[in-house]
Amino acid sequence: MNPTPNALCFGDGLPGAGAPCHVTVSADGLIMVPVGTSLLVEEAIAFTAMSVEAGGLDHDQLVVSWGADASVRTLYLKDPALIIAFRRAAPSSLMAHLERAAEQVRRARHSHRALWGSVVGVVVGLGLMLWFGSDLIVEWAVARIPVQWEQKLGETVYQDFLSKETVLKEGPAVSAVQEMAQRMTAKIPNNPYTFQVSVVQSPVVNAFALPGGYVVVFTGLMKKAESGEEVAGVLSHELNHVLQRHGLERMVKMLGLAAVVGIVLGDQQGVLGLAKQLGMELATLKFGREQETEADVTGIRLLHDARIAPDGMIRFFERLSEKDKERVELFSTHPMSAARAQRLKAELAALPKQAPEPFTFEWKGVQDSLGTSEPKK
């Protein structure tokens, strides 16, 4: 059987992508055995006959060349163990050359960096502060992003996501979610967002909100909920992530430098491009603990303002947390720590008592309309 190739050989008459071969290190050089190609023959290359440098896309490959003119052969070694073995066996004169080459790479990178110069210097400073979590700077940058831009961004990702999913167009589930959203959004003072809520057919027990007010609720969540209020609780929490611009804050943190450069230079088109390329990554944003708490607290208040029983979310969590921990996606983004539950309960207790106004739909009917497309376990 052929040995597995661990190197590629280049040269005249060899394939452009390189001929696969198996290379081993001997006391005085390399032994190259071609794998599955008749274009090459087995060859021993003495350390004294070769030159060595670093190469490849990340400069992490060892490039060994030998021969002259048309018979020059170049080997690219990538396997770290092989490179270590080579470094051990090779004479120091050869390695000195390699170190020089490595130094050149370092210097080239350095001069490249110097090119970026002073503008980048300032920006790097900002960026570093970003990475180390200076929320002030994040907020400063986020405050500079117009809602309109945020919507454009969210909408792009939203449409992209929905195009790949089965979206419920009408029916009791859609009406129910719309009713919840309307009751809540009507109570948001100076709301700059036009919220759009879609119900997506999926066993995933979750919901998410994209920057700009684009909300997705999965049917899996609706099936697991025991009342409309439980869904409304999750929904309110998600709406508040949007209102507090948590997604944007997260994104600015994540894109870091690049986004800050864009925002500072007013190149929103560029940032938009970057964010688009991130695509659905946007929907997978995991928020920070403070953001979660903020969304919890403001979410409960919004429910209260909309006269919806505000304990839905915590009920939902507590009911499911025991048996479904593994299978409920909501938990992975929203771990219900004891502290968080405490905070939620304290907030609930502090609310003035009021008689909630029930929804117009009957929850059982909504759930029945979702059918049993998901096999019962």
Partner: protein
């Protein structure tokens, strides 16, 4: 896994035969049809909204789904979104391709895919995307292009300059720099100021004969603007 390209040319499709319990990784949305014995493993480990960091490290979740012949051998038909060619590459464990993320169609079970964050300068300026895929391992790799796919073979130290938005894939033995195009290059509007990649061999660069961004702009002029 055995592959066969159907209808080569602008509107091709790939037929992938899977043995029982064999899997293929396909770009999500690429599946056109399949035998009933094929299951889509759409479970997104760690939850749908799972940790972003994990996703950025592994990159796998969002780009493809795993199709498994879980209930017996069968076949899957895969097709790319855009009109253009499909090319099959054989990975032998040592060759490795960097692939612009729209260029990936499918890969055999042994094909390893990781998404790689472009270094700041490359990523910011490169029209080929903030993330690129680094694909290695063993087995067949299926790429697709917008328009025809063209292979450029580079000898050691040989250089070639490619408009960024025409890049599909390149081997990791090549190095490249992103440069501002000198005048005369058609500045693609999406990559902004017309950026080009200067590749240096040895290795292979696959390019596509059409530029998705330019095509989009061309289409856009026929779409009435509202407001």
């Amino acid at each position: 896994m055995k592959c066969e390209i159907l209808y080569p040319g602008a509107f091709p499709m790939v037929r992938v035969y899977l043995d029982a319990n064999e899997t293929v990784k396909a770009e999500s949305g690429a599946m056109v049809a399949a035998s009933p014995s094929i299951d889509i493993e759409s479970k997104m480990e760690g939850g749908f909204l799972g940790a972003l960091s994990r996703k950025m490290l592994s990159g796998e979740k969002f780009f493809f789904q795993t199709l498994r012949a879980g209930r017996g051998a069968g076949e899957v038909l895969l097709a790319p979104t855009v009109p253009g060619e499909i090319v099959l590459l054989e990975l032998d464990g040592v060759n490795e391709y960097m692939v612009q993320k729209d260029g990936f169609l499918a890969g055999a079970e042994g094909v390893k895919i990781e998404s790689k964050m472009q270094s700041l300068t490359r990523g910011l300026l490169g029209g080929e995307g903030f993330f690129i895929l680094k694909i290695g391992g063993t087995g067949q790799l299926i790429l697709n292009s917008f328009g025809a796919i063209h292979k450029i073979e580079l000898k050691p130290n040989e250089e070639y300059i490619v408009d960024n938005s025409h890049l599909v894939a390149w081997t990791s033995t090549t190095t490249y720099n992103i440069e501002k195009a000198s005048s005369g290059w058609i500045a693609s509007l999406t990559s902004g100021e017309g950026l080009v990649c200067r590749f240096r061999g040895p290795g292979v660069v696959y390019i596509q004969s059409r530029n998705p961004g330019s095509f989009g702009n061309w289409i856009r002029q026929f779409i009435p603007v509202s407001e």
